[in-house]
Symmetry: C2
Subunit: 203 residues, 2 copies
């Protein structure tokens, strides 16, 4: 495709470097921006640059943060006794969105995946060690994907720290709220039966 | 959704202002950029800003351009006798891509659409007048969408300039190359029969 202008060609090229956006969509987005007031593209451009230059990672939990320590780690109302281990910042957001967790997090930054060449040394596992050292953490909760890689990662961390005086738990797996049994996959349904809970009329 | 960082929230907000990109995709794109080298987001941000600040519109044909006059208008090898009227810069690119047109263009910047409040005065129709004044243009080719709005726009321009000594034509409509007759829609097929061409073994 020939572009009538080099600035346009460059913009299309940069936009199509994003995942899931091809040359055609990139051109559509560029032409959209050109139809809007200039300020929109300038604000977008600035906030993308600021995103990578100004964002910080919390020293404690590796969550994104605007300061050295993130708001969650810095919140004295949240207990230090519960430590929830997640793969990704998105998982922190998803759990925070439920409003059901009042502990702290640790963002691993991925999961062990030999296929993608990600070994334990690429994850923030040493930060778990630091967190467990002072003995404040009572329970370490795995909130990892229900996949082979997620299970491997949980097992690796469990093996490494099983001698520490901490309880290990993992988020419940079973059928989703709203699911009909007939359509649930057998593994989830099997886990649901195995891990059945005392009936509670308030749930 | 609560974001752990204000720079992230701002970036997600700006990205999701683009058409077809919701908050979830915007977050995915922002997190992708954060995983790449900083330079990628900076280059993207810069080229988006440059796009709107540096791009020019050709004074002659309203195509995008890096200079006052675009490369197509400035090319002496292209004939001034053929003027192809298109809605959009994308259409210029599409026709240029075929390599089958050696004339000049005029980009209307849209089509007449009362539904969207676009009247003839919002289009670059006065530039057609200027082009026709000196009598060099021999044929005005409508390359507009095969929609009600496209047809209305062509008819409006035809009515306005039909007294000028210029031939009007429109791009051929019919079944696409590769189409099977049985699946072609009846209107396209009908036009194909009406506008049948002398058989040419070289086509």
């Amino acid at each position: 495709m020939d572009y009538p202008s080099k600035v346009l060609a460059k913009a299309v090229d940069e936009i199509s470097g994003l995942p899931g956006i091809g040359k055609k969509s990139a051109l559509r987005l560029a032409l959209h921006l050109l139809k809007q007031p200039e300020s929109q593209a300038i604000a977008l451009g600035d906030s993308l640059k600021k995103l990578v230059t100004d964002i910080k990672y919390c020293k404690n939990c590796h969550n994104f943060s605007d300061a050295e320590i993130c708001e969650i780690c810095d919140n004295p109302k949240r207990t230090e006794e519960l430590l929830c281990v997640v793969e990704d910042v998105r998982d922190v957001m998803a759990i925070e969105n439920t409003g059901k967790f009042r502990g702290k997090y640790l963002v691993l930054g991925g999961k062990i995946s030999p296929m993608e060449g990600i070994g334990p040394n690429k994850l923030n596992i040493s930060s778990i060690e630091k967190k467990l050292e002072n003995g404040i953490v009572k329970e370490l909760i795995f909130a990892l994907s229900a996949t082979m890689e997620g299970d491997t990662t949980a097992y690796y961390i469990y093996k490494k720290f099983k001698s520490s005086p901490v309880r290990f738990s993992t988020i419940a797996r079973g059928i989703s709220v709203g699911d009909e049994l007939e359509y649930a996959d057998e593994i989830s349904l099997g886990r649901s039966i195995q891990n059945r809970l005392p009936y509670n009329e308030k749930d």
